[in-house]
């Protein structure tokens, strides 16, 4: 697997025949389509092509979240108006997060009517889906599953703790970013060269980003919600467990799968499990 990093302004070379496989691709974020068949990169990152889903997009890690439809996010309630809650969608893992505003209608909850609607207060945390994203108006949120109309985990998140991770990390935790990624390839290649060997990709440097969760989940019981805006909510009965999960996730961003498991094991040992 090669690292195909492209920069804004580059024109993508025409796709190879085996990449194309005679299908039409949907153009995703980071690419501009100029008719008839030119693709220009507008965001630096790694080129991704998914043949099964027929999509092509640029993958890059960022801090600021831009709302897009059907993303599940974790938002904070700012205030309530006559028919909706005004929410902030925080993003970035810096101490002062940047935010964008969104509207969550009072009726956008399962089985909500004018009289029975969930009461949310200033500072409540909700897990919601972006039902409408448009560059001209604030995005709209919904707290129910689009297919079933049921809660399915959406709604207010009570208790627990919320912290920030990078957007790429959030996507990996959700398991829908690029399945695997290479880490420290350059460093390892240099190490291999020093030893006089050819660098071989043995899969050891791969990480799906979820190993840490898999390892923690086997030994601890906790609830977790990840928003695509880079917010993670963790809840467990005991603050120590919650903090342990939080730290493991935050520290695992640049670790390989093996190292992530090691990290989680050590944290569990320190926790006395």
């Amino acid at each position: 697997m090669s690292l195909a990093v492209h920069f804004p302004g580059e024109t993508l070379p025409p796709l190879e025949e085996d990449e194309k496989k005679n299908t039409t691709f949907k153009v995703g974020p980071g690419l501009t389509h100029i008719l008839p068949s030119t693709l220009i990169v507008n965001r630096a990152g790694e080129l991704n092509i998914d043949q099964r889903k027929h999509t092509i997009w640029m993958e890059s890690n960022g801090k600021r979240y831009v709302a897009s439809q059907n993303d599940t996010i974790i938002a904070t309630v700012l205030r309530s108006t006559s028919d909706s809650y005004i929410c902030a969608i925080p993003s970035s893992n810096s101490p002062v997060s940047s935010t964008s505003q969104a509207v969550l209608p009072h009726l956008a909850f399962p089985q909500a009517t004018k009289k029975t609607r969930p009461m949310l207060h200033q500072g409540s945390v909700v897990f919601a889906r972006i039902s409408l994203a448009n560059k001209h108006i604030d995005p709209e949120l919904e707290c129910y599953d689009a297919d079933s109309g049921k809660a399915e985990g959406f709604g207010e998140l009570k208790g627990g703790f919320v912290f920030g991770v990078s957007l790429g990390m959030a996507r990996r935790l959700l398991g829908d970013a690029k399945k695997t990624r290479l880490l420290r390839v350059k460093q390892r290649r240099a190490e291999a060269e020093r030893r006089g060997e050819e660098y071989q990709d043995a899969g050891a440097d791969m990480s799906s980003g979820k190993e840490v969760l898999e390892e923690l989940g086997q030994n601890l019981s906790f609830e977790l919600a990840v928003g695509r805006n880079g917010r993670v909510w963790v809840h467990s009965g005991d603050p120590k467990t919650t903090l342990c999960v939080m730290r493991c996730i935050q520290q695992s961003e640049f670790l390989t799968g093996k190292e992530q498991r090691q990290l989680a094991k050590e944290a569990l040992k320190a926790l006395g499990q």
Partner: protein, 293 residues
């Protein structure tokens, strides 16, 4: 208007819950500072302080000016601070907020009014010429404890600074360039260090070096400035939660220990930097010799 997002209900109750069990979000003990990183620039008088994600830069510079008429035997020392949008998007440029005024007053009281810098040594010709020492504090990133970090940055930069040497012959004042004569350090009388305590849960828990998130949730705070000789330079507990006198005294004792530790780190870093400089200067000199030969 960009505004800091208040901590959510979840974060608030979780942090307080954890504090009740003596746990902090970043895993520190209640009375432990974040790791202090201090580095100096290539020039004299530039100090870069990092305390966790908080980062403060202090620059000391000097120029020759006329002293104030009411203090003809003293030089001038000013500290300027500005909270800009670089530190946090919540800070607006240009306008002085209450937070900024309080911050600059605190640093002023901690360093300038406690006479950390001997201003009389800055006099060149009484009533005619004196050095004006200026410390500019820049906040690069805000994650709590701005006062503590900026105080460390200023005292470190002052100790690191060297001003050009001056010689006086009769009426004639000569300012020698840095290469002509070895520049002289400022006369620092003592090294004040600020320690800010944050109070929670009706005063039962007091934290040292709170992060921004912890600062947003605190019920009261107190900044104690002292030097390693056990001299208090300044105390500021401006309102907030009323705290038992005994707890405040205990805080003062903790602050003394912390001030000693931090002053020691600053001292060590200064010595390390001086050693690097000597090595580099020697290297440069030997090179010049070679060229001449």
């Amino acid at each position: 208007m960009p505004r800091e997002l208040d901590p959510t209900i979840n974060e608030k109750s979780f942090i307080l819950d954890a504090l009740n069990q003596k746990l902090r979000i970043d895993g520190r003990d209640l009375d432990v500072f974040r790791e202090l990183e201090l580095s100096f620039g290539d020039d004299y008088g530039l100090a870069d302080v990092r305390l966790g994600k908080t980062r403060v830069l202090a620059r000391v510079s000097a120029e020759v000016v006329k002293p104030f008429t009411d203090r003809p035997f003293e030089g001038i020392f000013t500290i300027t601070t500005e909270l800009g949008p670089m530190a946090s998007p919540a800070f607006e440029p240009g306008r002085q907020t209450e937070q900024e005024v309080l911050l600059s007053r605190l640093i002023e009281k901690a360093i300038r009014r406690s006479n950390a810098l001997d201003t009389e040594s800055l006099c060149i010709v009484a009533g005619q010429k004196c050095w004006q020492i200026r410390a500019d504090v820049h906040f690069l990133s805000h994650d709590g404890a701005l006062v503590d970090a900026s105080c460390i940055a200023v005292v470190a930069a002052l100790q690191h600074f060297r001003r050009p040497d001056v010689s006086i012959e009769g009426e004639k004042v000569t300012i020698h360039t840095m290469t002509e004569r070895v520049p002289v350090p400022l006369s620092i009388l003592h090294v004040p260090i600020c320690v800010t305590f944050s109070f929670y849960l009706d005063g039962e828990v007091c934290l040292v070096d709170a992060t921004l998130q912890e600062e947003q949730l605190r019920q009261g705070d107190m900044t104690i400035t002292l030097n390693k000789f056990g001299e208090l330079c300044q105390i500021a507990k401006a309102g907030g939660l009323a705290i038992n006198a005994l707890i405040l005294l205990r805080c003062a004792k903790i602050a003394l220990v912390k001030a000693g530790e931090i002053a020691a780190i600053v001292q060590r870093r200064l010595e390390e930097d001086a050693a690097v400089r000597v090595r580099r200067d020697n290297l440069l000199e030997s090179k010049a010799d070679n060229e001449r030969a």
